[in-house]
Symmetry: C2
Subunit: 243 residues, 2 copies
């Protein structure tokens, strides 16, 4: 018995790899947050489907483990990449006492990559990926990462820039990164990547503040000191033109 922790990409099936598809097809049981299970409904007919509401991550892992211990193959589906803020980590923790259960991570296109593609090419040079969610991480730690990423001139990609309770975190993040990034640094954000209502905006770091358009389904990109806008696209040069 195997548990495949499967990254299905941003949503639309055109982003899902053949490897992810094959892992779901090879499984007897499909486990996941309801929305993600629905996204692969064309692959689940004839399979046992176990879905749960948002949060309840540990419960979903236990469901997957229980099925595997019954001798079944399980596909545990996540949006984006199963290994980037995904379920591959907690699944390994929950199954720690059962080394006989093989856990296979199937990578997918994470929002940093799918969002960057929609905006142009912001991640062509060294970058840092930071989640602004402080549900599981102390805010002081997030603040330090933002400050150091700015000082080291990384391109920065922000996941979870806002939620209902945390409407001003993206504003705070911009203020912190202003320690080393100018307000006119080229930036961009993408909403609903690979889903209905996809929308990409190229802007400046100043425009990220007091911005009602940014919500919890948005991925935000802050350029480095060389990032520029070329024909409406956000582009970080790597320096090939200088050779």
């Amino acid at each position: 018995m195997k548990i495949y922790v499967v990254g299905i990409g941003p949503g639309s099936s055109e982003y899902m790899t053949p490897q992810a598809r094959a892992a779901i097809e090879d499984s007897d049981v499909v486990v996941g947050y309801t929305l993600y299970v629905d996204l692969v409904s064309d692959l689940t007919s004839g399979k046992e489907v176990k879905s749960t509401a948002m949060k309840q991550e540990v419960d979903r892992c236990r469901m997957a483990l229980d099925s595997a211990l019954e001798g079944k193959n399980v596909a545990f589906v996540c949006s984006g990449d199963a290994g980037v803020y995904g379920m591959a980590g907690i699944m390994a923790e929950v199954a720690e006492e059962h080394p006989e259960v093989e856990i296979v991570t199937i990578p997918g296109i994470t929002a940093a990559c799918s969002g960057a593609a929609v905006l142009g090419a912001p991640l062509i040079h060294d970058f840092a990926v930071i989640s602004l969610s402080d549900l599981l991480t102390p805010w002081e730690k997030i603040e330090k990462r933002l400050r150091m990423a700015a000082e080291a001139d990384f391109v920065v990609c922000l996941y979870n820039p806002k939620s209902k309770k945390r409407h001003d975190y993206i504003d705070k993040a911009a203020d912190i990164m202003h320690c080393a990034k100018a307000w006119d640094t080229p930036c961009g954000y993408v909403k609903n990547i690979g889903r209905e209502g996809e929308k990409a905006i190229v802007c400046t770091m100043a425009d990220l503040k007091d911005n009602d358009d940014i919500d919890m389904f948005t991925t935000v990109f802050i350029g480095n000191s060389a990032t520029k806008v070329i024909n409406g696209k956000l582009v970080t040069p790597r320096g090939y033109k200088n050779i």
Copy 2:
């Protein structure tokens, strides 16, 4: 006319998205470094193929642009993700004077994601991606990024850890990150991801030094302060178990 800059993933076709496949199928011309063009040879029959040796990045972009200006659709193929140290940036720069040519980035599975999946789940929390190649970036800048990424307790993923000329850069990188990461920090590296000879090793940061196994086709992962080894896999917890 369109130029699709296409990330084909690490190599094996099981990692290539349907979107990447469709972009190549929709093209009249396929441009790329010889090795990558060969990896998609099942899709290029009947198409004009223009390949060049390593380096020569700007030349390849000009080839793609010339074909697009003749009214053709072009697929410019890259390994991994076209937008992560890929050709999407320089393509936009080379085509800057031709806004009538539409450039479309097609994301792919980058080595950070495919390598992390092979090792387990090291990138479950905030991470920094850094290339150790100083062909296009001053070494001082790379050093600063390594130091700050370590101080901010990012998981770090290193591309281009070595080359023939730069055999000690991974050693230097480990020394720099030791400013804030212990020598026994759980680490891992993956060689030839998704290709023949794939090999994954879980080790400590000390093991990265004087390591003849690490070469230019290796991607290296250095854990954060919470990263641990669970049943032989490299796992960074996010904290769900503490809720």
